[in-house]
Symmetry: C2
Subunit: 456 residues, 2 copies
């Protein structure tokens, strides 16, 4: 009987995060101050981030110790299991060995608490009383709510108004974990009041919610802001995923030939793959392929430009060099809400540009088909985001079958889909569609950048 | 740092179920044929159950080997973790050590697959092609759907019509796992057609759905019926829960002074507690207390009669001696749908009657209060059913605090609440209420039994 699950005992959870900045072949590209076009200095971030996190953002130290209090909290659900997908392999009739690292075991159901917990910790250490953040459908807001609850911090979540009213369940979860949840635009901030004055019935947007959360943090000395993906320190916190997977592959007596993760802002992807990339950069392992999967409806890596752009719609942030569709790009309403972002983490973008990461774009119906097969074989209902990585893992396994080739595939199963069953209902009813995304639309939003940012 | 999780490796999962019939001090009370009032013989059950399960229903062998194929499937999610609730202990300021066995890690989110899997297996072995069953909110229907999918069986689920339309998410899950789901009453059976002729707008009931599923199995030679709780073999399949917990307590170097489970039909409760009861019956351990928790709105054990009654509303089943509120009892609409049953497993009832199990009834608002505290400390959103066991565990820990007494408490966390967030929303909004259940209502439904069943 083939072993099905590889469980690490608590004491074997990693005690340090892996920082890929120590090993990457070329240095990271600096963030720029949009006013001066000069690299920003760390102290420009102190009004909204604690120094502990700012230091991690720019550190080039390879291993950064996870504080004991953070380890203690991570043990509520970590290490997470590595599974061998034996039933999926059989259904596909493939000689490939398929593994998945399952982050749906966290209390919020995704990988997001892996960074929410240390972010809450460092803010608590810095004497902060409250954290503000934005959330779309609610996955990040849930993780930060729980983390703040665990460290005795208050948490204010600006939730895009249309999701606040149409997807109430994650709002309920955030309230259960003790957060104040406001529909954005709200009357709590000037940005929100301005938006409501212009349109009292505004449904909000993620860009609007970011502006409110950042303004809230700027306006209150006891309040910081928190971001759930994209930045270096966020990706680094997620490396517990890949580090555990490496130990679990040793238990399995195997090593992946290909590692696959879905990419929204890049934190799930970076967390899973950077420890493997590091082994490659250091020359300890050769030949491993790293695939980053994005939705065909929001193809920043495969169709975007690699250039400087803003992180947010309201242009409050520094300029970052990344793969982008333009910060005014509005992706179609695919169900994988966590992958609907105009840009990509600068580290992931740089690795794509330098050929270390191979990007792949997939349409959503094909992802849900893979998710249905996975439900019927492995049992787990995957989040729509995770189904993108799964789709590519299945395709890799089918290629191996066609070539009658043994291979070991690892994909990141970043979360479960119990709060996405409306999407599955559409799929089963046949009303789920793929969106056509005309190249002209991407060209148009990128062209808008060429006014202010023509230097980039 | 106190150890937080006790994880058994796959190879240490139990390989035999524990059958409490081997050790119980007095023999089990027989089921009766309602027509003759004579004990029923096993062969009367063959039209709807496979012989493998009928033999287990009446066996007095202490250990019954789990077939290899069943173990192989259980390894998709078992062994399940035992957690020490350190954060909850701290929040309560109790000297008690609180442990919970967490069954929410199964793909369907509850303990139900533990019996759905062997039931599907024995039906497959018997050459059955299809299984019919009923489901209320859908927890049992989900588990059987997945199990049938794994063993290549078709599955037809009669789902109470009001839930089919008002709680579509578990219906979606059952369809993802490949089942046909019908709103009951349906036009597929005579019982359904009769009900629709009488009232085309009937919302259905669990009793109606049972009648349809049983009729379906009786009418088709290739189809069997499956029950998700109540019967001896179902409780026995669930003993993997308690057996694993016993091994995990050895890892923890501890042993529970009290074991607490919620009781609907009795399968979660029996699965957790019977292995501990067995140690007590065999004289290997003394002093352990076993608490069975039911909702105050459906108090079969604390306010029902111990007497013969039907399992179902339509009186299609044998007569069973049990704690019952009368098979015509309609419990108020509490959110713990899995605990809304007029009777109780005959084994659990007998242990209550003989003093081995102490029943406790709790109102729902107090259960949700405990669930909120649990979410804020341990992170997990518990199913409303499981919150009943949690409430009593918290009460036990508070008693220990008042008496400044160390004690070890184990409760069964039978499932997560991600599909019950509407109930949590009512709780947070303050609209959740406790139901007054007048003793007269219970007296009335019990009095109805005294016509046909006055002998009992």
């Amino acid at each position: 009987m083939t072993e099905r699950r590889f469980l690490l005992p608590d004491r074997e959870m990693p005690t340090a995060w892996y920082n890929v900045l120590a090993d990457m072949p070329s240095p990271p590209v600096p963030f720029l101050n949009p006013a001066t076009r000069e690299p920003i200095s760390p102290d420009m971030l102190t009004p909204i981030f604690p120094m502990g996190l700012i230091e991690q953002e720019v550190s080039t130290q390879r291993w950064i110790d996870i504080p004991g209090e953070v380890i203690d909290v991570l043990h509520q659900y970590r290490p997470s299991p590595l599974h061998r997908a034996v039933r999926l392999e059989r259904a596909l009739g493939t000689p490939a060995r398929i593994y998945y690292k399952y982050e749906g075991v966290s209390p919020t159901g995704s990988h997001k608490p892996n960074t929410a917990i240390p972010q809450a910790y460092y803010n608590k250490q810095a004497g902060v009383k409250r954290i503000s953040t934005e959330t779309g459908a609610g996955q990040w807001g849930c993780a930060l709510s729980l983390a703040c609850q665990w460290f005795g911090l208050e948490c204010t979540v600006y939730m895009v108004k249309v999701s606040y009213f149409q997807k109430p369940y994650r709002r309920t979860l955030m309230r259960m974990w003790g957060s104040e949840v406001l529909p954005s635009p709200s009357d709590r901030t000037q940005s929100g009041r301005d938006a409501l004055a212009k349109d009292p019935d505004s449904l909000g947007s993620l860009g609007m919610a970011v502006s409110e959360a950042v303004e809230d943090a700027f306006q209150h000395a006891d309040t910081n802001y928190s971001l759930g993906s994209f930045l270096n320190h966020v990706l680094m916190h997620q490396t517990v995923i890949g580090l555990e997977a490496q130990q679990q592959f040793k238990m399995a007596g195997d090593y992946p030939d290909v590692v696959i993760g879905c990419c929204g802002g890049g934190s799930n992807f970076g967390g899973l793959t950077f420890p493997f990339l590091g082994e490659k950069f250091r020359g300890e392992k050769q030949g491993i392929r790293i695939l980053g999967v994005e939705p065909a409806a929001c193809p920043s890596m495969t169709k975007g430009a690699y250039r400087y752009d803003f992180i947010d719609v309201a242009k409050l942030t520094p300029l970052v060099k990344m793969h982008t569709l333009g910060h005014t790009f509005m992706p179609p309403g695919i169900h994988a809400g966590g992958l609907r972002y105009h840009g990509m983490s600068p580290l992931v973008s740089q690795f794509v540009e330098e050929g270390h990461v191979q990007p792949v774009a997939v349409p959503q119906v094909a992802c849900f088909q893979a998710a249905e097969l996975f439900a019927k074989t492995e049992g787990i209902i995957v989040a729509p985001e995770s189904s993108h990585a799964l789709r590519v893992a299945v395709d890799e396994a089918l290629k191996a079958k066609a070539e009658n080739r043994e291979t070991a595939i690892l994909f990141g199963l970043s979360g479960h889909g119990f709060l996405d069953l409306g999407a599955y209902e559409s799929y089963l009813d046949g009303s789920l569609v793929d969106y056509e995304l005309p190249d002209e639309q991407i060209k148009a939003t990128l062209a808008e950048l060429d006014g202010d940012l023509s230097f980039a």
